[in-house]
Amino acid sequence: MSTISTLLRWAPLALFLVLIVVFSLNSDRFLSGANLAAILVQSSWLVAVALGMNFVLLSAGVDLSVGAAMYIAAVAVGLGLPNAPVWVSLLCSLLVGGIIGAVNATLIGRLRLPAFIVTLALLFVGRGVGLFFSETRVVYASTELAKFGRSSLFDIPAPLLMAAATLGLAWLLLNRMAFGPYVRSIGADAEGARRAGVPVKAVTYCVYVLCGALAGIGGFISFSQTSAASAAFGQNSEFLAIAAAVLGGTSLSGGRGSIWAPVIGAILITTVQNGLVMINANPYAYPVITGSVIFVAALLDSIRTRTQARMNRRTVRPLTTVTETHATASS
């Protein structure tokens, strides 16, 4: 039992090391300090989005609309508030993302629709709404926002600081407030949580609002970095976010995972993308590689879930005495 779970725990890290070796053998720039720092900065937006996704996955749900939320947030900031100060833009992104999350939460909670269907619909509707306002043209960030995206405080780039702040907030919620155990108890057994007195409906609502809001932050970070949002801005990020959380060890079947999972996973995925650029891989190979990473993440999770389920089965007689009688019987 323990050997398998230990192996599984370290599998993503081993994968990570293998990739680093492969990349550094094929590119002398990959392992440079500047590039490693760049990877961290590049991963900032994904860290924020994956942190939100992590809460949803922990509650045994899923949110496919985060990419759409990112796009709408960028469109709202770029077109709606071209001259606003940076903090207003940030607030606006949070709000827009939170509203999309609230729409998800309401449809899931009130109409009792499966999260998969609701958020899949929002994926298309959300992007459609964004495209309606942008008229499919590229949306540009204000000079002030673009400057902010490239600024730094004490030599730490702003995107990284924002990701760190998001991490701090998520850590508080998950590890220092009743919200964390609530979410995880719902993910393990929603009916059991209800019987134990957990306010399941309210917590689930908050989880989707939180995920939407963090997707809004992710959109804000990415928009300020690239200072432009094309019609495909944020596309596929729902899959990257889910893969990041799962690769880090959060389970797709709910309840299991930590605050560090999405962070590690997001950095891992960004490293792969960065490394592919560094070794001048064929750009058409990117989706193949990224897709394989997602597949590996899901596979590891499925194996983990099965071993866990076997370990948690209730027995009808004490296990120890059985093995003892066995040992004596067979000897």
Partner: protein
């Protein structure tokens, strides 16, 4: 508060489910400083009564009062807040949370006065105190998934101690405890009792009940049949009060039997660590063999292993002399084994589909001339109608009426029909008449007898002792994953069978 006041009192509780009355006029008193033992067979109404007291269910008739004031809880939460701690048989431990998080899921100790930030340190310390009270030697920060079943039970008890409850209801708390763990629990119960708490203690261990409890009440068929001080009672009297009335004419005439029927199913030494231990069993042609035992004794696990749904580590299953590999359902189906699960709504039926679609499901390949060939719908429908008639299925058009429009009894007939379409040689029935009303039961029993008469081997698992006694040629008793005693029809003695299921020696 004085110790000997009546804390919780129920008067004339009755409850029906879907028109079937499961509780008749049940009254009880839980007195401060005393332990009341509650015993009875599975389905005798103990759990329903406790669910009424704790707000999980609401009574149709009858009143409850708490410390003298009327009390009608609408949810578990309400009774929790009123100071009733209910330690359920079905554990409510979240394996993915830590021990401390499980203990303080709803009311974690906070810091910075009023801010909702958990104080890890206080949570850790408080958890340690509670764990020490139940002598549970685990770290508060270790995940609950690392705990054994017994330790989880102790954790559940520690959670109940965390509040300020003055009334405790223990529903079979010792079933997953080792002997030393159970002793710890009894110690805690005595401490609570001396502290003036009122305790209700449900258990299948009769000696334990007599030793621990001041008073005992026995339930049968939703009624209280005996209420006395335990000092005046013996285990034998308790068993008698549990068994009760004679068998009604619900069952078919006893059948004449071959002295040595040809063996169809032969199970030997079946073992799954934690579930089954060296189970031997034979079922012959035309024989009906029953397995009695309490819920959680491993009966269903046994059936699942025999049918290949779960793997086993040792032993063998033979059909007509041929060994079937562990965990291979396909091999069982090919050998003519049919399995009616205890959960027919979730595992046995597509409730929204028509009767014909349900019955056709497992037999479809037999109505096509080969893989990829079209199905002969006419022949299929003829077979379905024929079997429906044989089962005396009361329904509308079999091709249009959905299964969920049928009564429980007719639904069970559809499941049975589904398997009969395949011409099985062995039927494994797990709780075949659960949720079936009395009239339909009689019908189903007669069908089973007819099937055995034409040579089917039948293995019945049931919590209803009367059903087994009325139907079977032989009865085995399962206890803690072991098949203990065998009774032949002429030796059937419900008292003796029940004693074997409860683990009482026949001398008691």
């Amino acid at each position: 508060m004085t110790g000997n006041a009546v804390r919780l009192e129920a008067k004339g509780l009755s409850k029906s489910f879907f028109g079937i009355q499961v509780l008749h006029d049940v009254s009880l008193e839980a007195v401060g400083g005393r332990i009341l033992g509650v015993v009875g067979e599975n389905g005798s109404g103990k759990s329903t009564t406790m669910n009424l007291l704790t707000g999980v269910l609401q009574p149709d008739v009858g009143t409850i009062s708490l410390n003298g004031a009327p009390f009608s809880p609408k949810s578990r939460r309400e009774s929790d807040q009123a100071g009733i701690a209910f330690i359920q048989q079905e554990l409510n431990i979240f394996p993915n949370l830590s021990v401390a998080e499980n203990l303080f899921l709803l009311n974690p100790p906070t810091q910075f006065n009023g801010l909702p930030f958990i104080s890890r340190k206080r949570m850790h310390d408080d958890a340690q105190t509670l764990l020490r009270r139940v002598h549970l030697d685990v770290s508060p920060s270790s995940p609950a998934s690392t705990l054994s079943a017994g330790e989880r039970q102790l954790l559940e008890i520690a959670r109940a101690l965390a509040g300020s409850a003055q009334i405790f209801i223990f529903d079979e708390p010792t079933s997953s405890l080792t002997a030393p763990e159970a002793d710890r629990l009894f110690e805690i119960m005595q401490q609570l009792r001396e502290g003036g708490a009122a305790i209700l203690y449900i258990s299948h261990n009769l000696e334990e009940v007599l030793r621990l409890c001041g008073d005992v009440m026995v339930m049968r068929d939703g009624r209280v049949t005996l209420r006395a001080e335990s000092a005046k009672l013996t285990p034998r009297e308790l068993v008698l009060a549990m068994v009760g009335r004679p068998i009604e004419a619900l069952f078919p005439e006893p059948r004449r039997l071959d002295e040595t029927p040809v063996t169809v199913l032969e199970v030997s030494g079946l073992t799954t660590p934690g579930f089954l231990e060296g189970v031997d069993l034979k079922v012959g042609r035309g024989e009906i063999v029953g397995i009695a035992g309490l819920m959680g004794s491993g009966r269903s696990e046994f059936a699942r292993a025999v049918f290949g749904l779960d793997e086993y580590t040792c032993g063998s299953v033979r059909m007509n002399g041929k060994v079937l590999p562990s965990g291979d359902v396909k091999a069982r189906l090919d050998a003519g084994v049919a399995f009616l699960t205890e959960d027919r709504r979730h595992e046995g039926l597509m409730v929204n589909a028509s009767i014909a679609d349900n019955m056709a499901l497992t037999a479809l390949p037999m109505f096509a001339s080969g893989v990829g060939q079209p199905i002969d719908r006419k022949r299929l429908l003829r077979a379905i109608v024929y079997i429906g008639q044989r089962l005396r299925l009361k329904s509308g058009d079999v091709t249009t009426s959905a299964v969920n429009s049928l009564s429980g009894g007719n639904q069970q007939k559809v499941v049975l029909g589904k398997w009969l379409m395949r011409n099985p040689r062995l039927l494994i029935l797990d709780e075949p008449t659960r949720g079936v009303d009395v009239g339909a039961k009689q019908d189903i029993y007669r069908i089973f007898a007819e099937l055995a008469d034409v040579g089917l081997a039948i293995l019945v698992i049931s919590s209803e002792l009367e059903e087994l006694v009325g139907l079977c040629d032989r009865i085995h008793v399962m206890r803690r994953g072991e098949l203990k005693t065998e009774f032949r029809r002429e030796q059937f003695d419900r008292e003796a069978i029940l004693r074997a299921a409860f683990g009482q020696s026949s001398a008691a």
